[in-house]
């Protein structure tokens, strides 16, 4: 999914990699501001089967047991439209989508 410009790196949990048949990291091209919302928009456009598995399809809210990390920070409670850290926006660090330690 890389095009012109910097590719955003996204790491998915194993159960979603299997669902989307992804090996390793995902590279995404994000137009405009790099936020959690725009990264997830790009991810769901590239892999439509992930719609509804990370955030609610109607409200856009993060699912309760999914977490968002980057640069050793928990971004799960940050506003979806807040800019992601520069290191994520310039491709140096990945944006991590993680299944919460909630058993199963």
């Amino acid at each position: 999914m890389t095009g012109g410009g910097v590719a955003i790196r996204v790491v998915l949990p194993a159960h979603l990699r299997r669902l989307a048949r992804i090996q390793g990291e995902v590279s995404l091209q994000v137009a405009g501001a790099v936020t959690q919302a725009t990264v997830l928009d790009a991810l769901e456009t590239a892999y439509p089967m992930l719609r509804g598995t990370i955030r609610d399809q109607q409200s856009g809210r993060r699912r309760a047991f999914m977490r968002f990390f980057a640069c050793e920070e928990d971004l799960s409670h940050e506003p979806p439209d807040a800019p992601l850290p520069a290191a994520v926006a310039d491709g140096a660090e990945p944006y991590l989508i993680v299944g919460a330690m909630a058993g199963g």
Binding site: P13, H15, L19, F65, A100, G104
Partner: protein, 371 residues
């Protein structure tokens, strides 16, 4: 050569068990969708290679999978289950109004004649339909909206629409059942609905013969006689001879009339199967003896079927969607347990043998008869 394909949904994936007509030697495929809860899988009666599966997890919610090659490969399809309009509220456990919230798909019922049409029974209770092979779903809101929806309450397992039966003769007629609301019938393809619970009595509700509020666990019908319905209620095994207009109890000499699944022999419309469970708090068979009970008289008189089933130290449960029958000349009967066993009988229940013993807890069992 004919054979059978048994579709097993478990807490941690799906399994496909295949055999020839003898049903003695089995090929086991799986786990498919490893790690996910598979509430239900079912094949299209019109195209046995078309399968649908309900896949979900606490982390990532609902996914619907579709196979076009009999379960060898799968493709995720649509998972957007949006209630029609403003969803409104139902009763919560404490009696307060609770907004309708989609949780999961409990049951998928493919159309009898169109592989691309499939119905989904969901929690919180509602009925959805897809006419494009599962890519998009639309609610049939007449069920939730018929008038009693705001009084429905969840059972212990959630407020789920778990049973969908399509009438093979009156083609616009659909039966559904909801825990804990009761049974419902539509005569116009699912657009309008009414409760069909006359004759049910439930001690756990304030008005024991109320129009709605009963915890129906499962309905079953023989396709040759669709006006006859059998029901396993929370307590009580029931029968209707008028398409649900009225019910009478047929528990008869069962050791306990609590249970979950109920099914009908493929070729004998008066032969019915249940698995008695000790009580609502003791979800295991009486005395640690796993016994299917069979009535050959349409109820009231029941015989225990024990050969090949554990008769001591057995404390598993058999969930409501975890029993099925095949269509072979000697009718096969199948059920799965919360202990991970799937038992098969190739002789209508006279004798049983496990196909597999150590799967994750079994949520559902369906069988396809292949020619």
């Amino acid at each position: 050569m004919s054979g059978v394909r048994v579709l097993v949904g478990t807490r941690k994936g799906a399994f496909v068990l295949s055999s020839d007509e003898a049903r003695q030697d089995w090929e086991v495929s799986g786990p498919h969708f490893s790690g996910w809860e598979i509430y239900h899988l079912k094949g299209s009666p019109a195209d046995p290679d078309r399968l649908y599966a309900s896949q979900c997890s606490g982390w990532s919610g609902q996914v619907i999978q579709r196979s076009d090659d009999g379960g060898r490969t799968w493709e995720p399809v649509g998972n957007n289950f949006s209630y029609d309009g403003v969803p409104g509220t139902h009763q919560w456990y404490d009696g307060t109004p609770h907004p309708w919230e989609f949780e999961r798909v409990w049951h998928l019922e493919p159309s009898l004649d169109d592989p691309d049409t499939v119905y989904a029974g969901v929690e919180d209770a509602g009925l959805f339909k897809s006419a494009d092979g599962g890519k998009s779903w639309r609610e049939l809101p007449g069920l939730r909206g018929h008038g009693s929806g705001s009084s429905w309450q969840p059972g212990a397992g959630g407020m789920c629409l778990h049973t969908i039966i399509l009438d093979p003769v009156e083609r616009q007629r659909i039966f559904t059942a909801i825990s804990a609301a009761g049974a419902f019938r539509s005569d116009d393809g699912g657009e309008t609905w009414r409760p069909i619970n006359r004759g049910l009595k439930s001690e756990g509700i304030p008005d024991d013969d109320a129009e709605v509020g009963h915890c129906v666990h499962r309905l079953a019908m023989h396709p040759s006689r669709p006006s006859v319905l059998f029901m396993q209620k929370h307590w009580d095994v029931m029968r209707s001879d008028d398409a649900g207009e009225s019910w009478r109890e047929i528990s008869g000499d069962l050791p306990t009339d609590f249970g979950f699944p109920i099914d009908v022999h493929a070729h004998e419309p008066e032969t019915v199967y249940v698995v008695p469970i000790t009580s609502d708090s003791e979800h295991f068979p009486p005395d640690g003896q796993l016994r299917v009970y069979r009535s050959r008289s349409g109820g009231d008189e029941w015989e225990p079927l024990t050969r090949g089933l554990p008769q001591q130290h057995c404390y598993v449960n058999v969930l409501r969607d975890a029993m099925a029958v095949d269509q072979l000349d000697s009718c096969g009967v199948y059920f799965g347990t919360t202990g991970g066993q799937v038992y098969a009988s190739a002789d209508a229940g006279d004798s049983w043998a496990p196909i597999v013993r150590d799967l994750p807890a079994v949520l559902s069992v369906e069988v396809q008869t292949l020619s």
